[in-house]
Amino acid sequence: MNKHIKVIAVGTIKSTAQKEACKECQTSCQSACKTSCTVGNQVCQNR
């Protein structure tokens, strides 16, 4: 049991760097004049 650090969420960013993107996920227009979707909003199409 850690005394100083508590894990809230385990990130998967680096672990997914080992395989190529399938390119099936939703397009993420990041323009504020449109939907302003950050990639962080998106879920993976394969999960």
């Binding site: 894990v7 998967t12 680096k14 760097a17 227009c29 998106q42 879920v43 199409q45």
Partner: protein
Amino acid sequence: MHVFKFGGKSLALDPITGTLLEVDDLAGDVLKLWTKLKPEEIIAALSVRYAACDVKQALSEAEDLAAAGLLDAVMPPEPISTDERVGQVKALCLHVAHDCNLRCRYCFAGSGDFGLERSLMDAATGRAAVDFLLRSARTRRHLEVDFFGGEPLLNFSVVRDIVIYGEEQAAQRDKVIRFTLTTNATLLDDAVIDFLNDKQIAVVLSLDGREVVNDRMRPLASGAGSYGAVSQAIQKFVASRAGKNYYVRGTYTAYNLDFAADVMHLYDLGLRELSIEPVVGGAGESYALRQHHLAVLRKEYERLADFYVTKQDEGDPFNFFHFNLATYDGPCFGKRVSGCGAGCDYLAVTPDGDLYPCHQFVGQKDFAMGSVATGITATGLVSRFSKANLYRKPECLRCWAKFFCSGGCHAQSYHSNGTLLQPDALHCELQRKRIELALGISALRSVQ
């Protein structure tokens, strides 16, 4: 490591892995130095505030997390050149109408015409766009078409034709096209509503919030306010689809820096899928956002987060687009590096069938990419856009939020700084604030 406060707690985000931690003050100070100094240097640097044994304990906990792969100080290598993506289009923004019946004062599209002649796309061009998309998608199965304008419902008959044709053609190729439509809601009659619902088309509805705010910036072409008719139409439409598959999207400007009140107003109208965005451009205009607004805007996002959490706690939550961060099941690394895909995965199509990297480049000759008939002819532009990823943006490489933001909007970078590789500073600050709050909300929910 990015250490920040939310709701009285200290949180730490590892920008490389995306792991989110709750930390005490000691661990927060240790993690700030963790990737910069050696352990003995960290102990020395913090010796004034903390006992060495406590610092060693926090360091040990961080090392254990690193050994388990939860923390990492080293960026993965840049993905292999993406030049092979030339022609692999996934999504089209179809400008079915370069015309609009509103005269929004902040419109980047020049009240709908994008600096070109007011015009509507014909059905043949729309079908050719679908053919181009299906042809260009190659092995990609999930494709997208967004009906945009101007006001796309000024050309509803062509929207309908393209959807029916697109569904047929996609099915023949074992592909799926998701359709979305962005509208000012002035033309949502029963026939349109029935069609949009029947085809399960996702709809983005534009309304800026309070009547006085909306009508100042979004008058009808006649000059009269649009709030009354639009707010009623949106409520009727949302009810018709049981509150699913829509977003109400507003814009805030320097005139309503208290934009949380506009989100609250939309909530009070019974709307639960909400987004409000900072106005784009307008340099020199009194409505434009400026650096000196930042402190107020940060506070306003905090006020909005408080409202968001309160409504969750009360059991009648709403979605605010920027707070819906997919912390656990977000996109893969490749997607986070490449971002929106404008100019390669994603293209805009004018009423005449001409291709541009995205809707914000439409009408700019230097960014003309070909047409739905010829396909992409400006392959150099595809290469330029596909290479404009995070690894080519020095400011992004230094930013803790890079894998959540993905480098921001190409068009905004270009229009602000004359290059795709330098993001707009003000919007970076707003993005970081929203991501902090989203992470904080997700941490709060995790604890509960």
